[in-house]
């Protein structure tokens, strides 16, 4: 694996201490390659990664790929292509 973002998983441990993502609908704003989006999906009911550039270039492991709760959408944080009140949690990771 060429690049590893947070190989010690410190961000997920601290995220878990901040909020319980179970049964939550999450928007990952500025998802980039989608690596963290897939990690959020291991907890949440559904995760949508949004990024203005090419998204989802990250290839998760086989177990993660079997999940059906992740989508990636091209869009800008200033004009999110979603209805009002759709998400329980929004995450900016290195993107605000």
């Amino acid at each position: 694996m060429a690049r590893r973002n947070d190989p010690q998983n410190a961000r997920m441990r601290h995220l878990d201490s901040m909020i319980d993502l179970v049964r939550k609908v999450v928007i990952d704003i500025g998802a980039g390659d989608g690596e963290m989006t897939w990690r959020y999906a291991s907890r949440a009911a559904r995760v949508i990664g949004v990024d203005p550039g090419p998204v989802a270039t990250f290839t998760p492991g086989a177990a993660a790929r079997r999940r059906r709760n992740v989508d990636f959408v091209r869009g800008r944080a200033e004009a999110l292509p979603f209805d009002d009140g759709r998400f329980d949690v929004a995450i900016f990771s290195w993107s605000l």
Binding site: R3, L15, M18, E78, G85, V89, W94, L96
Partner: protein, 136 residues
Amino acid sequence: MVHALREVWRVLTAGGVLIDDRPLAPNTLLEITAGKRVIALGSLDGAPGVPDDIAAEAALAEAMNNGWLVREADASFPCAIDWEAVDEMPTELSRWKLPPAAELQAAGRTLRSLGRGARIRIRHDTIMTRYRKPPR
């Protein structure tokens, strides 16, 4: 950034949560790891990222003043990104000033000499903050 926070407020449910996590500029280290061995290459200058942090804090302050978000909790902790090769270190590191090319080339030679499993990493502090959209 304020427009982005206005959009977050719009798409969140009442009582929904915003998590903001980002690296802190100071105390960022460049290192090579090989098994349990860590070779320190020096610290990275975080000055290039400071204007973005100031702008983000100003936008968050405005969002709170507007009543869109309430700050609830924060935590800081060490975090890292690592790569197999120096030339894979991408533009996402634009918030730090990388060492001169000659130093990076030397780091690359050290990395290659250590063989498979050796990696180059930046180790930095991260701050994670939780905000909540007020319930109706």
